[in-house]
Symmetry: C2
Subunit: 334 residues, 2 copies
């Protein structure tokens, strides 16, 4: 495994953003969001995702100059148009707007339509949590999972992020509502490793742990079977109805043309309800209680969502950020 | 199966509420919420749950006279104290308050602590959706599911409700974040029927479809394994931190003493963003798209969440509401 200093990764990404036509400030932020995602250990959505981002700028799916604009709203709720700009820059604006609305009203919501893949969804949860706020955010996607009872993809694996502030380290769920994201399936099939639990159906309709069989059948499993299927449907409905943007069924099924996502950013500021001290006491009590359950394997203590992030961040800053040599070399060569 | 007219069920429940000491208006509402739950086909949380409600009034866990009060808040976000009143009456107040906040601010949030089991969570989603609003609501519970990696229950199966308004019928997810609620497990084990998919682990630690083995081991499976486990943790954190009420680890593990739940009610009013016509067009487009996927079994069309509700409601009003004869007779005898 190749490790490179964080600053080198950031600088190489920034130069690449310049080459794609992003102006200085936006190139800096876009590069930083990509680099920080890899730094935090979410390898599928950082540097490894850059070639796809680049291809979508080149084919016109992403307009690097477009900035999101407010379309309508009332009080603490607003609809924004992402104008097909870079998804992480758009989402960064949207979550900051939801944060501002929450600071003013206790709770704030932004529905962002006509945007692009937000890359690592957890980014926007961490941003809110690091300011002492709660966030619930999600995106729809192209149809990549069959609805419960169907054999052909008709729902998205719509990533869902729920972030909780906590002085000792935010607690952040960042998950696709399929059992495994396609990024994760790809990472298992590339290594020819079986999935830890069944992740979908093979071509014959049997549950399987063979990631490549699921990539081939396109029959990934929603979490909790019918439950995740229902969840994907309502997340898509809220996203498309509130933002006025694409619903899952309106996307192109070509991944490199998957543009026009609908995303929701809900932020809650607890300042009017409780002191930071009271909130931390409750949060720490819940995390402590998890440690008291009997583990299946005494060598594997029970973890909370996002627990690995700060450890990986520290390790990757200290030792260098792991990169795929091929993608890294190609990034620097162009 | 015994079927009784809806009005008879309602009247019998109302008389029972009077016997428990509820004043007229509250007896009417509480009875109606129980009766409508059975009418809508959610049998586990309607009449079948009344004996447990009654026992918890008798043992002092539920104070039939307590009404919820506003504790603190800012703008569109409020904390309420349920004062251990009847859970469905408290939740009814809370969702109506969140609806009022949303109508004023576009989005509204109420955190309700110190309350009791809300019975059918979907009730509060339907209430919002029938007014043209979106709702996201959840409750925590006592520890009844092991966190991922643990053998002993340490997280709740925290029911989550997401409701979408739609003229042709609201779309409502109402689900526990365990693969099966304990109500559902009980219904399978009572009928000695295997679960349709594995629902947890047996005493030996193997995944099983035997509901009674899971009731015995107390090792129910969260939806999506580690994903539902993470979801349960953050839902509990938001509930307890925002309401100041119990977290899952603070509940008694005796079901008849499970009191002091923390619940969240988020409501979104889309009126400032889009017309009802635009919203329905988008919603209907999504529902229609589900019909176009190839079904596994051509005889089983793909359904959306909550689709069965209106059909069951109509059928049960027409033919009579199905009741458990034993519970029904005991309700009328006392």
């Amino acid at each position: 495994m190749l490790r490179v200093p964080f600053d080198d990764l950031y600088e190489a990404l920034k130069r690449a953003m310049h080459r794609l036509g992003l102006r200085e400030c936006r190139a800096q932020l876009c590069a930083r969001l990509f680099a920080e995602t890899t730094r935090d250990g979410v390898y599928t959505h950082g540097l490894n995702r850059f070639p796809r981002f680049e291809a979508m700028v080149r084919n016109g799916s992403i307009d690097v100059h477009a900035e999101p604009t407010r379309v309508s709203g009332l009080g603490a709720l607003e609809r924004w148009d992402g104008r097909c700009g870079p998804g992480n820059l758009n989402a960064h604006v949207a979550v900051h707007r939801a944060i501002a609305l929450a600071k003013q009203n206790g709770i704030g919501g932004v529905a962002l339509g006509n945007t692009n893949h937000w890359m690592r969804g957890g980014t926007y949860g961490w941003l809110a949590a690091e300011q002492g706020l709660f966030a619930i955010c999600w995106s729809n996607t192209l149809p990549n999972v069959p609805a419960w009872g169907a054999t052909t993809p008709s729902i998205g694996n719509n990533p869902l992020v729920i972030a909780v502030p906590r002085a000792a380290g935010p607690v952040v769920v960042d998950m696709a509502v399929s059992q495994f994201s396609y990024g994760t399936l790809a990472s298992y099939s590339k290594r020819h490793k079986p999935l830890p639990v069944p992740g979908g159906y093979d071509a014959a309709g049997n549950l399987t742990t063979d990631a490549s069989a699921i990539e081939a059948s396109q029959r990934a499993l929603p979490i909790g079977y019918w439950k995740g299927s229902g969840l994907a449907i309502v997340l898509d409905m809220l996203g498309a109805m509130l933002s006025g943007g694409n619903a899952t069924h309106q996307f192109s099924d070509e991944p490199l043309r998957e543009t026009g996502q609908s995303q929701i950013f809900l932020v809650i500021d607890p300042a009017s309800l409780a002191s930071g001290q009271e909130l931390d006491r409750i949060a720490d009590g819940i995390i402590d209680s998890l440690r008291h359950a009997a583990p299946i394997d005494p060598a594997k203590p029970i973890r909370y969502p996002g627990e690995q992030t700060l450890r990986l961040r520290e390790e990757n800053l200290r030792l260098g950020v792991p990169v795929d040599p091929e993608i890294w070399n190609s990034l620097r060569a162009t």
